[in-house]
């Protein structure tokens, strides 16, 4: 339903999103998790056709968002981060207007608007001015316009940000219900929120996807997540991987299959590996000693710059107000 292929988005010389690829299948509920400035909004703006990607492709509901933009947009329901509403309209008039802009005909609008108002539980406020609603109710109005035209894909950008705790709980329940019959991409910087609603989480940091997993696997990886790049010359792969795995603090050792590492290895005749180790166990020192002891050539031994753990430290893990 959603497919991003090597998508990059630059603002001037600065990449806000860099070479991001992922796919969301029909019916999936995917959380898009990342700290402030990670590139969540930018990615969603590309997916919704608001802004074109600098490089790469985005396909939504089977339509390329640049070359078949109107077709793609017809199948998307979008709640921007700012929850844009016309404050001087009533909830009903606002929804009718948004419906007409989505190309819905009058009878469809008249049928859908009361239903959607019921879904987001705004029945008592259908004739209230949007500007007079509380923040949480405005958020619901925003969600209502996103689901109005029964879109295949629902994209919600931080739908619980800035609303009070009780309304946050209600909004999450509402989103979980929506997930039952929509393909849903939901951004957030609150880890427990995403775990609650989603069965799959994409973690984005500094414009790159750094993890794509089930929420409980993510928490597991969180407990042992020091990742080290190791390149060796003159050794048999199986022996190296075996020795590494035998080290007490090493959780896993495997070949580094990233394209650029493989290319470099072929050129230099070296063996690239990725070693996952428990944090705070001086893993690099122990690995270095081991390599020297075995008489292998140590070409490269680098802790990867940012582990998942560090990224998660920037995320809100507490149930606070967002």
């Amino acid at each position: 339903m959603i497919k991003l292929e090597h998508m990059s988005k630059y603002y001037g010389p600065y990449p806000a999103v860099l070479d991001v690829s992922f796919e969301v299948l029909k019916g999936e509920i995917v959380g898009f998790l990342g700290p402030n400035g990670a590139g969540k909004t930018t990615t969603m703006r590309v997916l919704t056709g608001y802004t074109p990607p600098t490089r790469g492709d985005a396909v939504v509901a089977g339509y390329n968002i640049v070359s078949h933009s109107l077709d793609a947009r017809r199948h998307i329901g979008y709640l921007p981060e700012t929850v844009p509403l016309y404050l001087d309209m009533t909830v009903t008039d606002y929804l009718k207007y948004m419906g007409s802009l989505r190309g819905m005909n009058r009878s469809w609008i008249n049928e859908r608007v009361p239903k959607v108002i019921d879904t987001v539980r705004l029945n008592d406020y259908r004739d209230a001015l949007v500007g007079k609603l509380s923040k949480g109710f405005r958020q619901r109005t925003g969600i209502a316009q996103a689901i109005l035209h029964e879109p295949d894909v629902l994209i919600l950008d931080e739908p619980t940000i800035g609303i009070d705790p009780i309304q946050v709980v209600e909004t999450r329940e509402l989103i979980s219900e929506l997930g039952e019959d929509h393909t849903l991409l939901l951004s957030s910087h609150i880890l427990p929120e995403v775990s609650m609603i989603c069965r799959r989480v994409l973690v984005i940091h500094d414009g790159r996807i750094v993890a794509d997993d089930r929420p409980n696997n993510l928490s597991e990886r969180l407990q042992h997540s020091e990742r080290i790049e190791l390149t060796i010359r003159g050794a048999e792969p199986r022996a190296v991987i075996g020795e590494m795995r035998d080290l007490p603090m090493v959780v896993d050792a495997r070949r580094d299959n990233r394209a650029e590492s493989v290319a470099r290895a072929e050129r230099d005749g070296t063996l690239p590996l990725i070693v996952d180790a428990r944090p705070n166990a001086q893993a690099t020192e122990v690995i270095a000693n081991k390599v020297i002891e075995q008489g292998w050539g140590l070409v490269n031994l680098t802790p990867l710059p940012l582990t998942l753990e560090e990224i998660f430290l920037e995320l809100t893990t507490e149930e606070d107000l967002g």
Partner: protein, 253 residues
Amino acid sequence: MRFIWYIANKEVRTYFASPMAYVVSAAFLAITGFFFVASVSDAFSEASIRGFLAGAVFFMIFMSPAITMRLLAEEQKIGTLELLLTSPVREFEIVLGKFLSAFITVLAMLVLSLYFVILLFVYGIPDVGPILTGYLGLVLYAAATLAIGLFASALSPNQIVGLVVGAGLLTGLTIIDFVSDRVTGITSEILDALQLGASFSVFDLDSFGVAESGHFADFARGILSVGDVVYYLSITAVFLMLTVIALETRRWR
């Protein structure tokens, strides 16, 4: 295409739900009424709408950008432009819808101003030709000034910027003859050809409100020239296109 109508319809409703609509309409009728009375009150003056036309052409320099300033600036400010641009609506439909709403608003004011024409027929025997061409000219002139105002509104999320830039562009195009008088040859002709409104005589009571130069002058005299019609239509089209481009470049920012 129907999106154009949906957008125009919504904007007209929003506009007439605000006090702004009535304040601006009242000011329009008051200012043009003043010019109208000044031009016909002299015992020897002819029964014509030239004073009304002079007032309208002058006042629209400020009124048109005031009507359009909200239209695209506010959508940017409150973020609803993001919803518009992610709906299956094209930029030109947004621009034409917004333009149409402003145009309908001004047409409504022009209908109200027919009150002056009725007065002329009650108290005198006016020449029908200049009234018809005058109103046609005013409709075209309104379209051109609103297109310029709408363009200014697309440039920034700030309404006041839209008003100042719009009124500035219109003033520049109106007083361009000050410059063209001081240069010669082809430059002077090009500048003259660009002059939007008209210089009206307002100092001499005998010729009060008589247009002297600019594309509006012939309309006020009862002469319909293709060049003037094409000029106003071109200005309208060019600035509507520039507005579409301004919206498209918003996407890249």
